[in-house]
Symmetry: C2
Subunit: 159 residues, 2 copies
Amino acid sequence: MAEDRDMPVIDLQDSGKRAALFERIRRDHSVEIAEDYVELIADLIETNGEARLVDLADLLGVSRPTVNNTIQRLQKEGYVESKPYRSIFLTDKGRAVAEHARQRHHMVLDFLHTIGVPADIAEADAEGLEHHLSEQTLDCLARATEALKKASGHGGNQS
Amino acid sequence: MAEDRDMPVIDLQDSGKRAALFERIRRDHSVEIAEDYVELIADLIETNGEARLVDLADLLGVSRPTVNNTIQRLQKEGYVESKPYRSIFLTDKGRAVAEHARQRHHMVLDFLHTIGVPADIAEADAEGLEHHLSEQTLDCLARATEALKKASGHGGNQS
DNA sequence: TCGCAAACTTAGCATAGGCTAAATTTATAT
DNA sequence: ATATAAATTTAGCCTATGCTAAGTTTGCGA
Ligand SMILES: [Mn+2]
Ligand SMILES: [Mn+2]
Ligand SMILES: [Mn+2]
Ligand SMILES: [Mn+2]
């Protein structure tokens, strides 16, 4: 139970191994924006019938030219399709990514709610956390969420 | 228990509120590198007596000029001090950030281990997750970790 | 001590992701 | 039908973060 809280977390002996972890984080970040965009686009299409650039810009809190720029990149990378001045559609690849992103988003949110994080804060944290969870960890998280739900359901206390 | 897994996670009605969440993520990302650097620098100083640019570059998996560039920015922003061609030191601000980062890193890792994530994967995921947890969520996470430890300790099963 | 290797810096380049201002196209309302 | 408004795009700018190649400084071994 002695939780060496002031020891390096990091193995300074094997720099190659450590470097690989940071490389994964940099990769995660490079797909993060794609994930948020396609998830929003899927939501907009389902809710409004179409995904317009102006709505994306409002939801993301960035300027319209910024969205335009990113959409062009996402189109090059095969996530979306859109003809000039028309609204935005998902490719099969984009739809798959959106579906996956949405599931993870739900799972993270469900977990945060279960451990007692207030809804607003859970929403905020989930938006960042969702992009850094491996499949393995998602599995374990789902199991832990169920375990905690069961525990508190059967008369457990958490405060 | 009907977990509407194919509903938008996102409130498309209030774009201002949603935009605020993404703005926080963008802010998180802009301090993320600072956190990883100061944490590594603290570890190197404790372990080796000094933090050298070349070791940072090896551990981070980036080139030496990249580290040089970032260190100059971190110095402007008051996290580190270093005279040309000499090794790198933390300011009080840098030390505080490093300490905080290390605690979070430990907590996330402890949690991931507790829910059964293999050590390698836990290390990898923690490196990204650690930067997106609010204080509130950290609190709840610590409590959940204890609860799960207790549960499995007292003859619980998780698979 | 002095020459070479290691470490660090500078210069120059690239891409991603932001911005504003201005141009262009599409949609709407009279 | 046409003027105006809204939406989208382009142009031009910025910073952060990455790179390689080349220069500079430091440190060490012979
Ligand atoms: Mn999401
Ligand atoms: Mn997100
Ligand atoms: Mn860390
Ligand atoms: Mn990290």
